[in-house]
């Protein structure tokens, strides 16, 4: 347990610890409001008359009250308040906790584990499951891209400007999945669970620098015993040498394809589960649907790959001479 404390007390990990508390809090905070709104929505939907007259907010409202208030002072004062509080927090934090400073940089003395800044640990964790070029380059690009396209593929006009769950189940779940599960959780794992040699240490375990692990990760084709022997007959003499490679390359495409199709269907199924979401789905243009599919499928591939790796010790699904997936 002291190990856990050691990590948590690392000055640089304090933000993550903070995150651990902030995240749940704000999720709860948001959902509390969402529930209220949803109540209201339900009420209005069942009672159109009310919908005509109601001011349609969960906040109190009386005729004659200003719809708008002056920024000065009503907003300003809050901003000042927040500024001050933040300052106070920051200063206390700074006084009580020193920014870390270790030995002078020494290229000959490798730190073990050598960890990236905490906010990139998610990506570093991904390295376990993917080749660097995916985890380190493709993923971030996709994440950024994915985030950017959200407004354009979300065809649901509802829930603009207020917390709601009922009206945006799909969107919210997707986001929570991506943000909390895939991003924050990975960071937490990278920080608290990964020890020397980037090996898996439960918080109760102490980081033993001499620990050794034995794990053979095989490629899917190896499991299926693809060696291209059959291909060798088909190919012209001169190509025989590369038979195995070609075989693998070709073979690899299938599982990926299969996955893509399945995942696509899954997403589709998600989108058409309720009457409402079907309606939204209707509104989407083809481009939007395709984009949505692409990103959803890729996103889903992460947990799938992680599972494959952790459960079946599968390294690559698709092996080609140039890159592997």
């Amino acid at each position: 347990m002291h190990q856990l404390w050691e990590i948590a007390s690392q000055p640089d990990n304090v933000p993550i610890v903070a995150l651990l508390f902030l995240m749940p809090f704000y999720i709860w905070y948001a959902f509390r409001q969402a529930v209220q709104t949803d109540k209201l929505i339900l009420q209005l939907e069942t009672n159109p008359a009310l919908a005509k007259t109601h001011h349609r907010k969960v906040f109190p409202w009386k005729a004659g009250w200003d719809r708008e208030v002056h920024v000065w002072p009503y907003l300003m004062r809050i901003e000042f308040l927040v500024a001050i509080i933040v300052t106070v927090i920051l200063m206390i934090w700074s006084i009580t906790l020193n920014a870390p400073l270790e030995e002078p940089a020494n290229p000959n003395l490798t730190m073990n584990p050598a960890k990236a800044p905490w906010y990139f640990l998610g990506l570093q964790e991904m390295l376990v499951y993917f080749d660097p070029w995916i985890a380190g380059v493709v993923m971030p690009t996709l994440i950024i891209g994915g985030l950017m396209v959200i407004p354009y593929i979300d065809a649901n006009p509802l829930g603009n400007g207020y917390y709601t769950y009922r009206q945006r189940r799909f969107a919210i779940w997707t986001f929570l999945f991506g943000f909390i599960f895939l991003w924050v959780l990975m960071i937490v794992i990278g920080t608290f669970i990964r020890g020397p040699g980037w090996m898996w240490f439960w918080p109760s375990q102490t980081w033993d620098h001499n620990r050794l692990e034995f794990a053979v990760n095989r490629n899917l084709d190896q499991i299926f015993g693809i060696d291209g022997s059959w291909l060798a007959h088909v190919l012209p003499q001169s190509w025989r040498g590369g038979a195995a490679i070609w075989a693998r390359t070709i073979f690899g495409i299938f599982p990926l394809g299969v996955y893509a199709v399945l995942a696509a269907f899954f997403v589709h199924w998600l989108c058409v589960r309720t009457e409402f979401s079907r309606k939204i789905y209707q509104r989407m243009s083809l481009v939007q649907i395709v984009t949505l599919q692409i990103f959803m499928v890729t996103m889903l591939s992460l947990p799938v790959k992680i599972l494959l790796r952790l459960l079946f010790r599968i390294k690559y699904i698709w092996v080609t001479p140039w890159f592997s997936v």
Binding site: D12, V14, P15, L19, L22, Y26, A30, Q33, A51, K57, R67, E68, V69, V71, W72, P73, L75, M76, I78, E79, A83, V86, I89, L90, S94, I95, L97, L101, E102, P104, A105, P107, T110, A114, K115, P117, Y119, F120, L123, Q124, P132, W133, V137, L147, M148, P151, D154, N156, P157, L158, N160, G161, Y162, Q167, F175, F179, K279, Q282, R283, W322
Partner: protein, 316 residues
């Protein structure tokens, strides 16, 4: 006064002096009164005017003015949706992020006074900051923690914006800018990590940049990289570090990125971000709920209706 002078001469002279004195007293009294009055309501004074341009009364107008005419406040509209002032809605994360950015700039500039981005001096300078510079330790700590805090704030901001669907029409583009800003924030923090030139930063950055090796096409270990003649000495990582290892050049580059390039870029985008917030009709809510029954079933993009979201009650 020498004795010799005559008596009458004295009276004459004396009288004159007394008169002058009296006159002076009057004058001073007068001016004093004015001064006091001036102090009574400072808003009348020239100095006050010169600074605040408008005199503040507790009228809607002057409230509006005080915001609109103030270079710092005029990011805000004069009035906003009555419910938008609630913390519960915005969580104030955007504001906090901006505030932290300012704090960081401030502390950062001070730190720059004591820091040389050279292999020999960088680490020493940190020691110097820690032990010698008055408030140096505090300064450094604040800078570092504010940076971490900012990242959290940014994430939460994004989270909030998503949950309130604020990215939806007409704010799609501003969301994109937001995403870019978030990336910039991460980069800022990352580039700052190396500067103390200690083991922590060094290895963190090494790990971080090693990924760049694997950039498809551009990294010497990435797919098709070697086929395109990428080597450790000409690939993208080399470009990032200014060398094949994290060394003096990397330090310098990190420094420049961290202190000049990214902040500038970020500032520009921030400006854009805020401007768009205003142009897209202030913050998104809290808006009156919309019901599924009210969805007009038309496909594809539609013209954006520029309307401050708060106001659309009137239209109904």
């Amino acid at each position: 006064m020498p004795e010799e002078n005559g008596g009458k001469g004295r009276t004459g002279l004396l009288g004159k002096v007394q008169q002058d004195a009296k006159a002076l007293k009057e004058f001073v009294k007068e001016k004093g009164k004015e001064g006091l009055e001036g102090l009574k309501d400072p808003e009348k004074t020239q100095v006050y005017r010169s600074i605040f341009r408008v005199k503040h009364e507790d009228t809607p107008r002057s409230r509006a003015l005080s915001v609109l005419t103030n270079v710092f406040f005029h990011l805000h509209p004069a009035k906003i949706n009555r419910d938008a002032v609630r913390y519960s809605y915005t969580w104030g994360m955007g504001g906090i992020t901006f505030y932290l950015f300012i704090v960081l700039t401030f502390t950062g500039v001070l730190l720059m006074f004591y820091y040389h981005p050279t292999k020999i001096q960088a680490f020493r300078d940190i020691l110097y900051l820690e032990n010698d510079v008055p408030f140096g330790k505090l300064l450094r700590n604040m800078h570092r923690w504010a940076a971490h805090l900012m990242i959290i704030a940014v994430w939460l901001h994004m989270f909030r914006v998503f949950l309130t669907g604020s990215y939806k029409r007409p704010r799609e583009f501003n969301w994109c800018i937001g995403v870019i800003l978030m990336v910039l924030t991460l980069l800022l923090s990352f580039t700052g990590y190396l500067l103390p030139d200690d083991q922590l930063g060094f290895w963190a950055v090494t790990v971080g940049t090693n990924m760049a090796r694997a950039t498809p096409l551009l990294g010497h270990e990435g797919p098709f990289g070697s086929q395109l003649g990428m080597t450790p000495y000409n690939d993208v990582r080399f470009a990032l570090l200014g060398g094949s290892i994290v060394d003096a050049n990397a330090l310098l580059r990190a420094y420049i990125w961290h202190c000049i390039a990214i902040p500038l870029i970020a500032a520009v985008f921030m400006g854009l971000h805020f401007w768009r917030v205003r142009k897209d009709g202030g913050i998104s809510g809290p808006a009156p709920v919309m019901l599924a029954s009210e969805i007009k079933d038309e496909k594809g993009p539609r013209p954006v209706i520029m309307k401050p979201s708060g106001l659309d009650q009137h239209s109904r």
